[in-house]
Symmetry: C2
């Protein structure tokens, strides 16, 4: 008697997600029809529904896959020799080298999470995970003296995520954006955030120090 093949199931699910990534990133979730998706995946509609209970479940499938990948990336890349070296590698990987398609899909997920509660739940969990990973990374760096000891770890991690989001969006939305060119400026800002952080919570002494120091 024939038995259910677990490997095949998993392969098919992955293949569907791959096809969906191409479709969704190109056309968006709600403008991609299930028929288009089937065409891209080389599979009939009926069969596709054997692997995912609904179109929405495919969307949710991404967020979970992305989470697994992000966690692994941080774990491996975070093992660099020095903190800023590791950070640079992550930046290179996530802000420069990540393919257009993934950036687009990420944009799509974020937009979707604003209105779909299930996606929102998954996406926010991913965010919390990434935030925790960054805080850990910063804590280790602070303990080793590579960044200031009085850095507000939580706020700093949030700022790094703000920067990453901003870079992603610029890449996704404006074709002329040269991520590589602005990266040094970004790293400069990050450096000042982590190595020379603002004292306490009051804003930096904007008016007193003037531009004479540079030039």
């Amino acid at each position: 008697m024939r038995r259910s093949n677990a490997q095949l199931q998993s392969d098919r699910r992955a293949a569907i997600l791959d096809a969906a990534q191409r479709c969704f990133s190109r056309d968006g979730f709600h403008q991609t029809s299930v028929q288009q998706l089937c065409l891209e995946a080389g599979m009939s509609a009926g069969n596709l529904y054997r692997y995912f209970p609904s179109k929405e479940a495919i969307i949710a499938g991404f967020v979970e896959r992305n989470r697994a990948e992000a966690a692994q990336d941080f774990a491996t890349v975070g093992e660099a020799a020095s903190f800023f070296e590791g950070l640079g590698a992550i930046a290179q990987r996530y802000l420069i080298e990540r393919p257009e398609e993934e950036v687009g899909l990420c944009a799509e997920i974020m937009a979707e999470s604003r209105r779909n509660p299930e996606i929102a739940r998954l996406y926010q969990q991913l965010e919390r995970d990434v935030h925790a990973l960054i805080v850990d990374m910063l804590r280790r760096a602070a303990e080793r003296g590579e960044i200031a000891r009085d850095v507000d770890l939580d706020a700093a991690a949030t700022m790094l995520m703000v920067l990453a989001d901003g870079m992603s969006w610029r890449r996704a939305a404006s074709p002329g954006f040269d991520a590589k060119a602005v990266l040094p400026h970004l790293m400069h800002m990050v450096h000042s955030l982590l190595v020379h952080p603002p004292d306490g919570l009051h804003p930096p002494d904007g008016e007193t120090r003037r531009a004479e120091t540079a030039a």
Copy 2:
């Protein structure tokens, strides 16, 4: 013979855009049906089509309205006494006080511009306009000596937009995000970007200067 009432036309268009803003921000472009839109606007479908030739034209209508508003905001707020004061006011206005609904709509527009060529065209024009306004603002500040004279105006303006995008997205996507709390950190980074910019284009001297200075 009765003549078409231009004022009424303009009012109706504005009312439709207002209703659409609520709908689109809540449900997204493609999950908002024309019927829902009519309900929200208190208007029949047939009548709505007298004011916009298609649903897509309504989406496009936003980007143009936003552009007009952004330009005006920059023009008026940019007239502050000092540069950092003006920048703070813009940040307060755009990153903290902007209503959730507008942030959501902006997210929607950005996502849509990735795949709809007409929206992309309009959105990228808006971006270029804003970029030019920021560069002007920075140039005036550099001339007055409020920021370093050797700042790469173009890259700095781009970085400010990256930061703004990042903040907007964090607001839109994660409900626990406290924009007000991270703003001082952001301003600190901006200060270092503009007042103590990186020398030339090589990355900051990450490893040499250590955290001993702070603590």
